[in-house]
Amino acid sequence: MTHIDQRLTLDIADLSLTLLDDAPVASEWLRDRCASYHTKKTDAAASTTLAVRRNPDFVMGADMLVAELGDAPGSFWIRGVDFIARRRRCGLPVEVEAHPEAGMAGILRWVVSALLLEQGGLLLHSMSYSYEGSGIVCAGPSGRGKTTLARLLAQQVTLFTDETTAIQRVGDAVVAHATPFAGELGIVSGPASAMLDAIFLLRHAPQTQVRRLSAAEAVTQLLGCTFAPLRSGVWMNACLEAVEHLARSVPCYDLCFRPEVNVWETLQDACHRTVPAA
C-alpha cells in the first residue's frame, strides 16, 4: 500500500492544508478520493499544517463529537471518536493525535470546518452545483434527498458535491466550494467554486413546491445542516453569526420535492423570479 510522502499539500475551498501523516488509512483516502485537491503550491507560510501522530494506544471517545473554540485567535480543540485535534493559536500547526485506523476524511472535515469558521465561513451538509455561472446549494441533514437530487440533476448541471459544501465570505458576496467529502454518490468532482445565488432547504413531499424563507426560519433550518458540535456554546455562537450572514446574503427557500425530473424546473423557476420573502 502506498503511503503519503512526508508532506502533502491540499487546496480545499481556498484553504491550503499541509498534511504530515504516513498512516495507510490516510494515504488510501487521499490517493483514491482526494487526488484532484493535491497542489504543488508550497507557500509554507500560507498553509496550515496538520501534524498527525498515530497512537496505537489511543483511547476511543464517545460517539458524540465535542469541540470548542479557544480564547486565543484561531485556537480550537476537537475530540472525535478516534482523534483529538487542537491548535493553540492562528499560525501554529494543528496537532492531531489519532487511532491508527482513524480516517483522514473525518479528521480533515472537522479541521476544515474550524478553519472556515474563523473566517466567517461554514461547512454545510448539502449538495451543490453551478449552472451558467450561478452557485446553488441544496442543504439538509441525512435522508432529506441530497443524493437523490444530485442524481436527478447530474445531466443538467456541474455538480460540486452530493454531501458537503464549503461556504466562504468574499467581501459582501458568498462563494460555494466543492469539497472532497463525498456522500452516497461517491463522486468527488474536484475543486470548483461559484458565487452562491440561492440556498434550498430540502425535504421530501408528495408535491414539489418552493417557498421563500424568512431570515429567522432560514437560520433555524441551516443550523441543522452545519458541521457544528451543537453542545459547544462558543462554537455555536460563531456558527450562528456565520449562518445569519449567509441567510441575509443569499435567498433561502424551503424546497418540498418529489423525486422527479421536474424538480429542475422548480429550482430554475425559483432562481429566476423573485419569490417574495416571508
Binding site: V219, L230, M236
Partner: protein
Amino acid sequence: MPAIGPCRRPEIAWRVIDGEAVVVNPRSGLVYPFNPVATRFWELADGTREIEQIIEQILEEFEAPHEDIERDIAEFLQMLVERGMIALPA
C-alpha cells in the same frame, strides 16, 4: 451582583434575527425558534429584573390581555428552567 430574577445561562447560544430569537441549548443540542414575545422575555431575562418587571415591560410593548401574557410567560419560564436554559434566583 446576585441575580434578582430569571437569568439566561451563559452557555446558551442565541441570536435575535428580525425580532425573533434562534436559541441553541448546548445541553440537548436542540435549536429553538422563539416568537416575538418569547424573544423579548429572553432578552429581558438577564438577572437584573424580577419576573413581575419583565411581564410589565412586555405588556407595555405587546397588545395582549394581561392574563394571557402572564400565563404564557409562566409556562414558557417553566419550560426554560426544566431544560436548563434559565436559572432562577436562589
